[in-house]
């Protein structure tokens, strides 16, 4: 069951200030309307995971870990590996997060991250087939939200992607249906680099990368996933408000323009990590 959430009391106090600033095209943290906060990406922070990453977007911090295990394929895709994304809004990340089974916020977050990665075919799932119909690699992406200051979707999608890019799996041999691992490793087959770009509508203004205070008073948000070709591969509207058509067209256009910047940053980070 999904129900209308409470608005935070701080939001009521700060709402006017934020909206007044927006009328002058200003934001509470001094950013431009379509400017990202400072982005830091650290790949491979957990040795025991196949791949991992810490992403900080302003004060939002997400850690993603990839674990690859052997499992059975889905009956309708016997030659493809599987992907599973899970998100934990851990209670250390924000006073409003409580421990317990994932709520609709965590589920939506995981499913939107999953959508960008799955629909852009970022993981070459056919290369993860070990024995058709019997054994495939299952890629688990676990997202741990460490500090929540808004825009968890973009930060989590980035963390998931960088964790995938840094992932390695052991080479193996198949003998009589048994998997025998070798010591050398190869990278996980990653084909695309989908970027999620989230806009929020505050009053009648569209802003990029909302922080927590902006999210608290936003009418609604729209996430656009963009693949390397510049096509849209995922979308999700959230929040209690509505968009008009011009706003939708503007966000999709802006998202395709913004995504190469972030992709470039990722490739720089990955290149430095290898050296």
């Amino acid at each position: 069951m999904s129900y209308t959430p409470h608005k935070s009391p701080i939001a009521n106090l700060e709402e006017k200030n934020i909206l007044d600033l927006l009328k002058q095209d200003k934001r509470i943290d001094g950013r431009g309307l379509t400017e990202y906060r400072e982005l830091r990406i650290e790949p491979n922070i957990i040795e025991k995971a196949n791949g991992s990453a810490r992403v900080t977007l302003g004060k939002t911090q997400v850690i993603a870990g990839v674990k690859v295990e052997v499992g059975e394929p889905f009956p309708d895709t016997p030659n493809e590996g599987a992907l599973s994304v899970n998100a934990e809004l851990t209670p250390i990340a924000h006073p409003s997060f409580e421990s317990g089974p994932p709520g609709e916020g965590a589920i939506e977050l995981a499913r939107v991250v999953d959508r960008s990665i799955r629909e852009s075919n970022a993981i070459d799932r056919e290369k993860l087939c070990i024995e058709s119909g019997k054994k495939v690699f299952v890629v688990f992406i676990d997202l741990n939200i460490m500090d929540h200051d808004g825009n968890l979707i973009d930060a989590s999608t980035l963390a998931a992607l960088v964790a995938l890019l840094s992932s390695k799996i052991n080479n193996y041999e198949l003998k009589d249906g048994e998997i025998i691992y070798k010591s050398e490793q190869k990278p996980l087959p990653v084909n695309d680099c989908p970027i999620a770009i989230t806009f929020a509508k505050l009053g009648e203004t569209l802003i990029l990368d909302p922080c927590l205070k902006e999210e608290a008073i936003m009418k609604c948000r729209l996430t656009v996933g963009v693949n390397e070709k510049g096509s849209i591969c995922a979308m999700q509207k959230g929040g209690l408000g509505e968009f008009n058509i011009d706003e939708i067209k503007e966000t999709t256009k802006l998202a395709t323009e913004k995504s190469p910047e972030i992709r470039k940053k990722i490739s720089e980070v990955m290149k430095n990590a290898k050296n």
């Binding site: 129900y3 589920i107 852009s120 510049g230 096509s231 509207k237």
Partner: protein, 243 residues
Amino acid sequence: MNLNKIPEKLIDEKGLRIDGRKLDKLRPIKLEVGVLNNAEGSAYVEQGRNKLVVGVYGPRETHPKHMIIADRAVVRCRYRMTPFSTEERKNPAPSRREMEISKVIREALEPAIMSEYYPRTTIDIFIEILQSDGGTRCASVTGAALALADAGIPLKDIISSCSFGKADGKIILDLSDAEDKYGEADVPVAIMPNFNYITLLQMDGELTIDEFNKGLDMIMKACMEIHDLQKEALKQKYTQNDK
């Protein structure tokens, strides 16, 4: 009972789809208002082979108390697939998919509900999918809008919803299950027809910006068509009662 085989192609040489539809045609839609006895508002929807019932209760007292919002009503929404609604039996426990869809349906409807008229109360929307064949979340929004109107809850507009997508390289309207599974993209949309607002928008697959914009224009027209059917369904019930 396997009704769906994996199709070789989704659009034939004549430009027709597996069920014989043209690219920009909706499936046959049947809407009925006031189908339940106890619910304050209800609606039955058939769209192609989709069959679903929506029941609305409220505004009523909020339980538990901590959920009360002082200046508006809480809107609760549950989208549920019956175990017999799919090819393989669906586990009756709520899935992650159902939880996400419950949320997006609620967020699609809330912009139209004048919830500030009923502070401290709850408006409940329950959706039961009896048979699913692609596009159930859209059909649910269409039905829920009718059930809310039937319950007498003040609305800014009757929300209408449908999906567009892409199959065999062509932009198509109102995707069936096979077109959703084997096609290239699926974009569910809900609109407030009298304001041209978009209240639900999701997408998976791959579309260029031009294809997306083309589909967006197509879906606005289709939703207007559904909106006319909704008005007709409401009139049907209330003119009958007058006699």
